[in-house]
């Protein structure tokens, strides 16, 4: 038997004119964690779908446990011990934990009648595989994302999985939850199961993986041991260009603060928060989920309830009552979840860009000029190099990074004094991330005051000239310049 559990050579797949996979070579060792990395659209998901039998390959060989496999179907993949945990976890929010755990094996066993006792037994067996304890009768939809994930993992283990493929499992998790997940992954790995971990987050890949396979434009550009790879090489392989961490150097900080917050309190969310912000600064606010960082931003944007303290804008004490009011006071907010809160996905790109500045475009009687709308939005498309050939297309046709650029341009269209960015690069590729960071640096140096709220410490360190750390609703630390390091922040958070 070979050293590999799964070995794929020369895998080729075309969809019409698109060469999705170009002779990809790929191998997974048993009892190891292998990361499949690459930017969006590089062919990762196509490759996964070939392994799981959803797509059929055009060319290439697949060898599993030393046996050549000519044709894979989803059922065959399950029988071989290949399990995929999709990003949405494939769970049923309306059913109980027990049903979610047992339903797949019941269907596979071709049962017709429900036997509660057998279901319960199956569910208990599944949970015992990783020693996980949860109320079997709790409704799946009521669980946290991390718990849902563990249930999905337990379910996969029921099928004597030898290879578990996890599709971007950390996207919706907090740092703490990621740590817990990694613990489980290591536990599985040590029990001899091979894990294929799909991700584009550099830190995670280096933390968890033994082997890495990096794909770009349908080709695999690197495969080998993680230990042989440096972070710099990794970024190069991912993006095809040399990217240096581009630290923010403030050049244009004003003397007087544009925003001053004094003892601001939102009962139960945060209390006695005081800080000031000058034009040209990028202020980072970081902390764990639930530390009050997001609520602080919401309060500044008129979406929170202020129980005490004051906000001073340009020397004048103000009350911000609603998002419209915040906009009038020249404060912009880019939400965490850009898909549901920041964008109308099924509206043209142009409309999205101009959404919060339609007033500038309206004429008598409130009519809109469409030509003008497209003209103006095209300026932004060019300025931010948003990757589209036509601003009439829906925003949903763009990748995460480009969508984020739309959200940014939407706000920048209005003259702003303060721009609040919440998790600006969540789910964005490294390349696009760099573009967005560079853009924010430019904006700050042109005189905008920026607040970045993020739990991506690397992002905070690179982009901010000042950082505030929050914990349990209060500010527990502040640092500037060279004192801003990941270690230093972690020290305070913990």
């Amino acid at each position: 038997m070979s050293e590999y559990l799964l070995q794929m050579t020369g895998i080729d797949k075309r969809f019409g004119g698109v060469h999705a996979l170009d002779h990809v070579n790929f191998a997974v060792r048993p009892g190891k964690v292998m990361c499949l990395a690459g930017e969006n659209g590089c062919g990762k998901s196509t490759l996964v779908k070939i392994i799981s039998g959803v797509y059929t390959r055009d060319e290439g060989e697949v060898v599993f446990e030393g046996q050549p496999i000519t044709h894979i179907t989803p059922a065959e993949a399950t029988r071989l011990g290949i399990q995929v945990i999709y990003q949405d976890l494939s769970i049923f929010p309306n059913l109980t934990v027990m049903e979610n755990l047992a339903i797949n094996s019941e269907i596979t066993a071709n049962r017709r009648i429900v036997n509660k006792k057998r279901w319960e037994q199956t569910a208990k067996e599944a949970l015992s595989k990783i020693g996980y304890d949860i109320d079997l009768y709790a409704k799946m939809g009521d669980l946290s994302v991390a718990d849902k994930q563990l249930v999905a993992i337990c379910r996969a283990l029921l099928f004597n999985a030898k290879l578990i493929i996890m599709d971007e499992p950390t996207t919706a998790l907090t740092k703490k939850e990621v740590d817990a997940l990694f613990k489980t992954v290591r536990q599985l790995r040590d029990s001899g199961i091979a894990i294929m971990f799909i991700s584009h987050k550099t830190e995670e890949i280096f933390e968890i993986s033994d082997d890495v396979c990096i794909m770009r434009n349908g080709k695999n550009v690197f495969s080998g041991r993680t230990s042989e790879l440096t972070k710099k090489d990794f970024t190069y392989y991912m993006t095809g260009r040399e990217l240096e961490d581009d630290y923010f150097v403030p050049t244009n900080i004003s003397k007087e603060p544009v925003l001053k917050v004094d003892h601001l309190t939102w009962n139960g969310k945060f209390h006695d928060v005081s800080f000031d912000l000058r034009k040209g600064e990028i202020l980072g606010i970081t902390g764990l989920l639930g530390s009050g960082r997001t609520e602080l931003a919401l309060a500044l944007f008129g979406l929170g309830k202020i129980n005490g303290g004051t906000i001073t804008l340009n020397g004048q004490q103000v009350k911000i009552t609603s998002p419209i009011d915040a906009q009038k006071k020249r404060i912009g907010y880019v939400p965490e979840d850009r898909l549901t809160e920041g964008l109308c996905l099924r509206q043209p790109i142009a409309d999205n860009i101009m959404l919060s500045s339609l007033k500038q475009l309206t004429r008598v009687l409130g009519t809109l000029s469409h030509d003008e709308l497209f003209e103006k939005s095209n300026e932004w498309v060019k300025k931010f190099s948003i990757a589209t050939d036509d601003a009439h297309k829906h925003a949903s046709t763009l990748s995460g990074g480009n969508q984020q650029k739309i959200v940014l341009s939407k706000w920048l269209n209005n003259d702003l004094d303060v721009l609040i960015l919440n998790g600006p690069t969540v789910g964005v590729d490294i390349g696009a991330k760099q573009d967005i960071h560079a853009l924010v640096h430019d904006l700050a140096n042109q005189g905008l005051a920026v607040i970045i709220i993020s739990d991506d410490l690397a992002e905070v360190v690179v982009n901010c000239n000042r950082v505030i750390v929050m914990k349990d609703g209060a500010i527990v630390g502040e640092m500037t310049g060279d004192r801003i390091t990941e270690d230093h922040i972690l020290e305070i958070i913990r």
Binding site: P74, A75, Y86, D88, S90, I91, F92, P93, N94, L95, E99, I103, N104, E106, I107, T108, R111, R112, I113, V114, D135, Y137, K139, G141, D142
Partner: protein, 339 residues
């Protein structure tokens, strides 16, 4: 553990609906001077009428319930029922069938309903279209066949004898002590009870039933889990069609008449009742028990109005209220779950 069970129970819509039903019963019992239930005889003219209204409405509600659990909306089942029974009775009448028993009529109605349901199922599962739009289309289409193409007529006094006598079967007979008017409890109630038992077993104890919940909860996951979603949907809509045909025939027998237009707009009173009973407008939720409680509330109110001295015009008002309350509660619950 017991506490958790209690907590889970009180979070369900059915629980509150049951309380509403019981309160209503008490109100009607007191206001009517004890006409809802008498002891030891239990049955009264009022409660047998309530049960009688529940037969057809309750059975239709089962059609609507199973579809809603799977995440769909069926607006066409009353139209299917109407076309099935009108055509079936017309055929029986023309051939002189059903003089002794209504079996041929039932067989025909079920077969016609099944075919119409298959059309729904085929369109919905093959083209993956919005079920509400599809059944809105087929509803109008089926009514059009009945009225325009076949020109089916009302059949009243000429209805085959076998159907009439079957509809008059009863399991209990008594007379009102005050007025001396005879009243009976229709035997058709047994069909309602049987159907409730079958649907309940199907939903909770068969993999097909769990498939409906799974599809209603997350269709993509159901497919990945190994369910044949296409086949399940096809089976579901064809079964609902056949069932609608059967229910339609029960109605013809009970009313001793076949009126092609009688079912128009029926879905607009049934679907709100199902939602009121705890079925989610987004799919994946709903129980037989909750649905029957809601149907009970609606029948009780509409039949008690006269006795309570409320103008029957208020029935429209009440039905509207049911729709609003039911849909609002359902939407709020879905929202809470998302959070």
């Amino acid at each position: 553990m017991n506490k958790a069970k209690l907590k889970r129970m009180t979070r369900k819509t059915e629980f509150y609906m049951l309380i509403v039903l019981l309160l209503l019963c008490v109100v009607v019992q007191i206001k009517s001077g004890g006409k809802l239930i008498t002891l030891p005889g239990v049955f009264t003219r009022l409660n047998v009428t309530v049960l009688r209204t529940m037969v057809v409405d309750g059975m239709f509600a089962m059609c609507s319930l199973v579809v809603m659990i799977s995440g769909g909306f069926d607006l066409s089942f009353p139209a299917i029922a109407a076309l099935s029974y009108s055509l079936a009775t017309t055929i029986c009448l023309n051939n002189g069938w059903c003089a002794a028993n209504p079996l041929a009529g039932f067989a025909l109605a079920v077969a016609i309903g099944w075919v119409l349901g298959m059309l729904n199922g085929w369109i919905i599962s093959n083209f993956k279209l919005n079920t509400m739009i599809v059944t809105l289309g087929t509803q109008t289409f089926f009514t059009g066949i009945s009225m325009g193409l076949l020109k089916l007529k009302e059949i009243t006094s000429t209805l085959p004898e076998g159907m009439k006598t079957f509809g008059k079967l009863y399991i209990f007979e008594s007379a009102d002590p005050a007025s001396g008017i005879r009243f009976t409890l229709s035997a058709m109630v047994l069909f309602l009870i049987a159907l409730c038992a079958i649907v309940s077993f199907m939903l909770n104890k068969t993999m097909f039933g769990r498939a409906l919940y799974a599809i209603g909860g997350n269709e993509v996951s159901a497919e990945r889990a190994g369910y044949n979603v296409k086949k399940t949907k096809f089976l579901l809509y064809s079964a609902v069609g056949a069932l609608a045909g059967f229910i339609g025939m029960i109605r013809v027998c009970m009313e001793s008449q076949s009126i092609p237009k009688a079912m128009i707009g029926k879905e607009m009173t049934i679907i709100p009742a199902v939602i009121l009973g705890g079925a989610s407008i987004y799919g994946g939720e709903g129980t037989v028990f909750g649905t029957m409680v809601a149907v009970g509330i609606i029948s009780l109110v509409s039949n008690s109005m006269l006795i309570l001295g409320i103008d029957t015009y208020w029935q429209q008002f009440f039905n509207g209220l049911v729709i609003l309350v039911g849909v609002t509660v359902s939407a709020l619950q879905a929202k809470r779950q998302k959070q």
